[in-house]
């Protein structure tokens, strides 16, 4: 979902595009064609699907609706099977995580026939946004550009929470497959409720980085406990983090430190991570 592809340019005359663009490029799932009090809004479009914000059951309950439209270039039967398989695998993983206490969106409804997955709406913003905001503020305040463990208390706290959340995910036997700071939400604390992972960001700050880490988008996730896969997961996060937040790259080891404390065999995974760093994400040099 995060790999945003440019929209294909339709090979039709411009005036036809005008009329057909909405319906052809954005076929809404049948569910969204039925009446609602507020119209659904498109949040993001990825290579495989689209994410809408809409409502579930009652106008007061917001939800996220993920639609995997059928691909016209695939054979219909294969298309149906792939969609069904991917929707169900994502749904099962969400359900498992929730049961095991990994903070993820709750599953509301699955319609594998039309390729629709309805989930709890997570408030807040993707971690990427507040982190960049924080780093920008630092610069504006005239602090040194690169955040370090010593002077970025608030950020260090957030990084710890990320490490714990990822550790917890791996502990229950799920590998995410696409860990980035865009696939984690920073949900504001529920007032008076004990946060599920970690506590208030250590140190004082303006509260920009306060919140609970909720991991989202399990479209590429799989169930497994292989240290190799876990290490690749961490490697992907490391690389994504380095390129999205270059000024905080030096803090990544905080994530790994927190990860280490989450489950017994984490040390083996971190050893493996060193191998993966040497050779890259792909184990075999084929393909």
């Amino acid at each position: 979902m995060t790999t945003l592809l440019p929209l294909p340019v339709p090979a039709t005359p411009a005036d036809e595009v005008e009329a057909g663009a909405q319906s052809h490029q954005f076929p809404l799932p049948q569910t969204l064609n039925y009446p609602t009090t507020t119209p659904p809004t498109l949040i993001t479009q990825g290579a495989e699907g689209r994410l809408y914000k809409t409502t579930y059951l009652l106008p007061s309950i917001p939800c996220a609706l993920k639609h995997r439209p059928s691909k016209p270039y695939r054979h219909p039967i294969l298309d149906q099977r792939l969609t069904r398989h991917r929707i169900l695998s994502e749904a099962r993983i969400l359900q498992k995580c929730r049961r095991e206490g990994v903070p993820v969106p709750a599953l509301y409804a699955v319609d594998e026939g039309t390729g629709v997955l309805i989930m709890e709406w997570i408030a807040g913003a993707p971690v990427r946004v507040p982190v960049n905001e924080y780093l920008r503020k630092r610069k504006a305040d005239g602090l040194r550009e690169a955040a370090t463990k010593e002077d970025g208390e608030e950020l260090v706290g957030l990084m710890r929470r990320i490490g714990r959340a990822v550790g917890r995910l791996h502990k229950v036997g799920i590998v995410h497959g696409d860990l980035t700071t865009s696939n984690m939400m920073l949900r504001p604390w529920d007032k008076g409720k004990a946060p599920v992972n970690g506590h208030k960001a250590d140190g004082e700050g303006n509260g920009l980085l306060d919140g609970e880490i909720v991991i989202i988008d399990f479209g590429l996730a799989s169930q497994g406990t292989q240290d190799e896969d876990r290490a690749v997961d961490l490697y992907v996060l490391e690389r994504a983090f380095g390129s999205t937040h270059p000024r905080a790259e030096g803090l990544f080891e905080v994530v790994l430190d927190a990860y280490r404390g989450e489950f017994k065999t984490a040390n083996i995974v971190l050893k493996k991570l060193e191998d993966v760093r040497m050779r890259g994400r792909k184990r075999s040099m084929l393909g």
Binding site: Y34, T54, A91, G101, L107, A109, A194, V196
Partner: protein, 196 residues
Amino acid sequence: MLETIHLEHIPHTLSIHVAFYRNVTNASFLHSQLLARNASFEYALIDASTVISRFHLLAAVYKSITVELGGNMKTPNIHSEIVCALSSNNNIAEAYRRYGISPISKDVLVVKVLNTAHANTSDLTKESTETHLNEHVKGESVEFSDEEIAKTTDWSKLRKYHKLNGAAGLDDITDMDAKRKEMEMMIVSAMALRGL
């Protein structure tokens, strides 16, 4: 008191009506009408002790509507489908026994889905349904609200039915309200995955 509820994302030909009766004295009569497949008693009659909230029940109603629209019903009609949708496993008889009305049920939730596009229910209206219910359900009609439902919820039964006793996600929560909220979310998630 029959409340009409409009759910999001369902065709406008469908309307949902819910009533809540407490201290029902003729549960065995109602149960026998279901067993006899008396068409005029085509309701989802649910044992209220297995329902957590409006959200929980409406999620089951929504699921059974999508199943009907998709043409994948596993049971005779949409009302029996609602009872099954409350379950998290595929055993239909077990779902009826656990979530449906039984001769010893005390508190009963009644759901009726009317479809104006459907030939054999199109002559039924909210009024006729309400009259029929008031005539045949011997109990005290109360509001279909989260507060009223919460009074009858049997949590230990739900924990057992949905196999939540070993769920690590619940052990860490100390606050009772938060714990129940989380259980509700887990149960709704499990219901969504049923039969898939």
